[in-house]
């Protein structure tokens, strides 16, 4: 059984052709892929990632995250090189010696890049422009055993890695999946160390945490073994059941479906309420940051995901929300300081941000999508520059910002501020729940359908009687208001607002979160925020991988490009968006199955749209 066979609706698997001969390699493809991988290896090495991540062990005294990064590439390349294009009329060969040889060679070429780098590092010193051209890098790459060893060992590692990667193709799918899951889980559990250790200690099981994780981070050998074993067993036996369970839930209808959904929501809510009680303030801080970005991402999701308006200046609403809350609640605000309670200020925040959304939205809403993107970016920058300027510093404090903002007082019971991250998390959770509910209801409302119609084809939507201008403007305003909630919480959580917290960078990071998670998909957006902000960190907030902070923006950029190329519908896509993005392929599939008998020119129109 292969992966394609399991996908519902895919064409049945054709008979496998006999394996290709090992020496009939496609040498040009091999050289090209190997060279690209070698280039990537050298780039990663010179970016300083391995040296920095070497401080982060995955398995105590055996493997650090730095080596995982450069060591995984030969395996990946060795596996990818054996991939066959599945196309109607082209035979698919069984895996065999061809894949093994191709994998080994490609892996060796990829790692040869590092061998060359080791040789160059020994003989030249160009640290002047390239800051990471350092003795540490040489030591790391040669395992502290001298350059000759370094050159040879990488050729060896590459060949072995490539062999493993190619060999994975020879295994039955079930075994392959089990092995990959085991490796991935070990890395994941080690990355999630802070969270897992905190959680385990929270339920008074410190000895378990100590046994599981080494003193300076990383899984202990026994910890890694147990993790791999559990993951392996779960992947080997559990996958089929998981699939069956999901199919069962999806096949439910009526009240049974509602019951299953509410059970799931209740369970999630219970976990989200209990977990913060068990973990320490550091982890709660992390959770609160993730929550703030979930809120922002849900807001942007309405604008970008549902209405299809690419708003690059979304940070403007975050900023306006923050500043409005700060001005209205802080005693130290320069001009206006009514010192409202936070919840009263929130009403003003909604009104002000809604108006700003209207003001920014009205001029841009008629523009073409790409002009709109740049112009909103311009507005985002203008708003920050205005907050920063001397001209308005009498109101907003200029570069000094507004400091000493009080916390959020909740009905006189307790005050939630930065010293109480657990409280902040619960507050954020409440607003996230509101945002999720609003998004969920809107998506299924008349307005939501209008948004999606506008996103898919504005002209047709207009012809259907939708007032596209008003509908898009509403999306803009709703998104703005959701973002302003996050801003208002942010101001009172951090206790100060500065213009430098509202760089365009923030917009970009939220955009990456939305696109990575899946435009238009609520679950996807939440998962995207949790993964990216939680693990890598936000623009200024550290994630679980604090060592990564220098590289997270690089990764975000690469991720954005890769998602657009490989999976534009995102990690957890919304069904409708997927159909829209892959319309051509759906049509082709249908045509192959004989469901569409004529080419209605739709694919053709898609093909020329972007050009002029």
């Amino acid at each position: 059984m292969t992966a394609t066979e399991m996908r519902p609706g895919a064409a049945p698997e054709p008979e496998l052709a006999p394996p290709r001969r090992a020496l009939d390699q496609n040498w040009r493809r091999l050289a090209r892929m190997g060279a690209v991988a070698a280039f990537v290896e050298v780039f990663i090495a010179l970016s300083g990632m391995p040296v920095r991540l070497d401080e982060r062990p995955v398995i105590v005294s055996i493997l650090s995250l730095g080596y995982v990064f450069i060591g995984a590439i030969p395996i990946v390349v060795g596996n990818r090189i054996g991939r066959q294009v599945r196309r109607e009329g082209v035979p698919v060969h069984k895996a065999g010696g061809y894949e093994l040889l191709a994998g080994t060679l490609a892996g060796a070429v990829a790692a040869a890049g590092l061998s060359v780098l080791v040789a160059l590092l020994t003989h030249f010193d160009i640290r002047e422009p390239l800051v990471n051209w350092s003795p540490q890098l040489l030591d790391l790459l040669s395992f502290n055993r001298g350059p000759v060893f370094g050159v040879l060992i990488w050729l060896g590692i590459g060949a072995v890695g490539g062999f493993i990667g190619g060999g994975l193709r020879l295994l039955p799918a079930r075994w392959r999946r089990t092995l990959v899951t085991m490796a991935a889980t070990v890395v994941l559990i080690s990355i999630l160390e802070q969270l897992v250790a905190d959680l385990v200690s929270g339920v008074r099981l410190e000895p378990v945490a100590d046994w599981f994780y080494g003193r300076r981070g990383g899984l202990t050998h026994s910890g890694a073994g147990v993790t791999a074993a559990i993951a392996g067993v779960a992947a080997f036996f559990g996958r089929g059941r998981l699939k069956a369970a999901r199919a069962h839930v999806q096949s439910l209808e009526g009240p049974a479906r509602t019951r299953a959904t509410s059970l799931m929501i209740l369970l999630t809510a219970a976990i989200l309420i209990v977990v913060p009680l068990l973990v320490g303030s550091l982890t709660n801080e992390l959770l609160a940051n993730v929550g703030l970005f979930v809120l922002l991402a849900l807001g942007l999701n309405i604008v970008v995901g549902l209405a299809g308006i690419l708003d690059l200046g979304y940070v403007a609403f975050f900023a306006v929300g923050s500043y409005t809350a700060a001005v209205l609640t802080a005693a130290t605000s320069p001009r206006i300081n009514p010192e409202f309670p936070w919840f009263v200020a929130l009403i003003f925040v909604v009104v002000v941000t809604g108006l700003v959304g209207l003001f920014i939205g009205a001029p841009v809403i008629r523009m073409r999508g790409d002009y709109l993107a740049i112009v909103t970016l311009g507005f985002g920058e203008i708003i920050r520059l205005l907050f920063l300027s001397d001209w308005l510093s009498g109101w907003f404090g200029g570069a000094q910002g507004i400091t000493a903002i009080g916390g959020v007082e909740i009905f006189g019971l307790t005050t939630v501020d930065g010293t109480n991250p657990r409280g902040v998390f619960y507050l954020v959770l409440v607003f996230c729940a509101i945002a999720i509910y609003v998004s969920w209801r809107l998506e299924r409302s008349r307005l939501g359908r209008a948004w999606m119609a506008v996103r898919e084809d504005e002209t047709v939507a207009e012809a259907m009687g939708i007032n596209t201008v008003n509908v898009k403007l509403l999306a803009f305003v709703v998104g703005a208001v959701l973002g302003s909630f996050s801003g208002a919480i942010f101001a009172n959580k951090v206790g100060s607002v500065f213009p430098s917290s509202f760089l365009i960078l923030v917009s970009m990071v939220i955009l990456v979160v939305v696109i990575f998670g899946g435009m238009g998909s609520i679950v996807g957006v939440i998962a995207g925020a949790a993964l990216l902000i939680g693990v890598l960190g936000g623009p200024k907030q550290p994630g679980l991988l604090a060592e990564f902070s220098e590289f997270k923006l690089l990764i975000y950029g690469a991720l954005l490009v890769w998602m657009m190329l490989a999976r534009p519908e995102g990690l957890i896509p919304s069904a409708r968006r997927t159909r829209e993005l892959h319309q051509e392929e759906f049509l082709q599939d249908a045509w192959l199955r004989g469901e569409v008998d004529t080419d209605d020119g739709n694919g053709d129109a898609q093909g020329t749209e972007g050009r002029s």
Partner: protein, 373 residues
């Protein structure tokens, strides 16, 4: 032209329309009142109108004004050079290559590497012209290469995808290149080696600094070369044909892929020239250098009429002069304090203003009918 301003019969006037009209009137009014106040203050800072607008106004000296205009022109020439890349790519592929500003930044970064190496060898001081040519070619080479790789890796697989997809991709590319330069070269500000005196000194009756003369000369030369390339060579003919209609061009035997690569390469080369000019004029570069000039250059392309090459340069000069002079000319007379901080805000406001008043730019867009807004 007249038709654009005539009321659209039958189209309902919504609240948004009224608001937009109000905004247009306000924008024009602000500029006019600010300019009138400026003139009033130049005549005599004590007259009633000038006093009403800004009691603390001091007026602007003629020399100061000239200096600003010259700085604006040289800055604008750089924007224009970058804008050519935006405009050409837009003309051919119909999408905004958001990462083009980073190509410019990498040009400036390469210039920093080569010029410091040359300065270490002592050539930068002893033979400035020779080293400048080497540095210039280094930058052009790297920028061109980067632009071509970008097209191959990120944009070619997306040809024909829905319009926003390549735009989002280019945002990712921009993010990536920006941070790539930071992780490879470090986050510190990179200073160019000291320039020889004649570059710093002022020349001619107009008192123009040497570096500004270099920038303007480079921009003029580039424009002439580009004009020759596009209008007089076979490659240029192919570019124009692909811009007109890629499919028909392909049917006529034009290699569309190669033409698109050429467009990226030429745009990258101009961005490289602009990068070097930036480095020599401002003396430093960091990873974020590309962002603002990139956006302003895009604004220039829009102001001039996107897809129109001469328009890109004119738009660049317009934006350059406007952001240099605008704050002092319009905002200062109205009593806004710290106007120089609002330079960038003025540049963005210009973009928004132009799109509000005349979305097709000064020379009009060169777009197919269905692409027009």
């Amino acid at each position: 032209m007249i038709g654009k301003w005539a009321p659209r019969t039958g189209a309902p006037r919504t609240g948004v329309d009224k608001f937009l009209t109000l905004l247009r009137v306000l924008a024009v009014g602000l500029v006019l009142v600010g300019f009138a106040a400026f003139i009033a203050q130049e005549i005599n800072t004590d007259n009633a109108f000038a006093q009403w607008a800004n009691p603390d106004a001091t007026g602007l000296s003629g020399a100061g004004f000239r200096g600003l205009v010259i700085a604006g022109i040289s800055q604008g020439a750089m924007y224009g050079l970058i804008a050519l890349g935006y405009s050409m790519v837009y003309g051919v592929l119909g999408f905004i290559n958001f990462a083009h500003g980073e190509v410019f930044m990498m040009g400036a970064m390469t210039g920093w590497v080569t010029s410091t190496k040359l300065a270490e060898a002592g050539l930068w001081e002893s033979n400035f012209i020779g080293s400048f040519v080497i540095v210039l070619f280094g930058s052009i080479l790297v920028s061109t290469f980067l632009a071509v790789v970008m097209e191959r890796v990120a944009y070619r697989p997306l040809r024909g995808a829905p319009r926003l997809i390549p735009l989002i991709t280019s945002i990712g590319v921009s993010f990536f290149i920006q941070n790539m330069s930071i992780v490879l070269f470090g986050p510190a500000t990179k200073s160019y080696p000291a320039r020889p005196d004649w570059v710093k000194n002022k020349h001619t009756a107009l008192q123009i600094e040497g570096d500004k003369i270099m920038v303007i000369a480079a921009a003029a030369t580039s424009m002439i070369l580009l004009w020759y390339l596009v209008e007089r060579t076979k490659v240029g003919k192919a570019m124009r044909a692909v811009a007109e209609d890629a499919e028909i061009a392909a049917l006529m035997g034009i290699n569309v892929n190669r033409t698109i690569v050429t467009v990226f390469a030429v745009g990258g080369a101009f961005a490289g020239i602009a990068g070097i000019m930036w480095g020599i004029d401002f003396g430093s570069v960091i990873g974020h250098t590309g962002f603002l000039p990139g956006i302003k250059a895009f604004s220039s392309a829009v102001v001039g009429g996107i897809g129109h090459l001469g328009g890109a340069m004119v738009g660049g000069l317009f934006i350059g002069i406007a952001e240099a002079v605008g704050p002092l000319l319009i905002l200062e007379p109205l009593g806004v304090s710290g106007v120089s901080q609002l330079r960038d805000a003025v540049a963005f406001a210009m973009l928004i203003g132009v799109l509000l008043l005349r979305p097709s730019g000064i020379f009009g867009e060169r777009l197919r009918a269905e692409d027009r807004a």
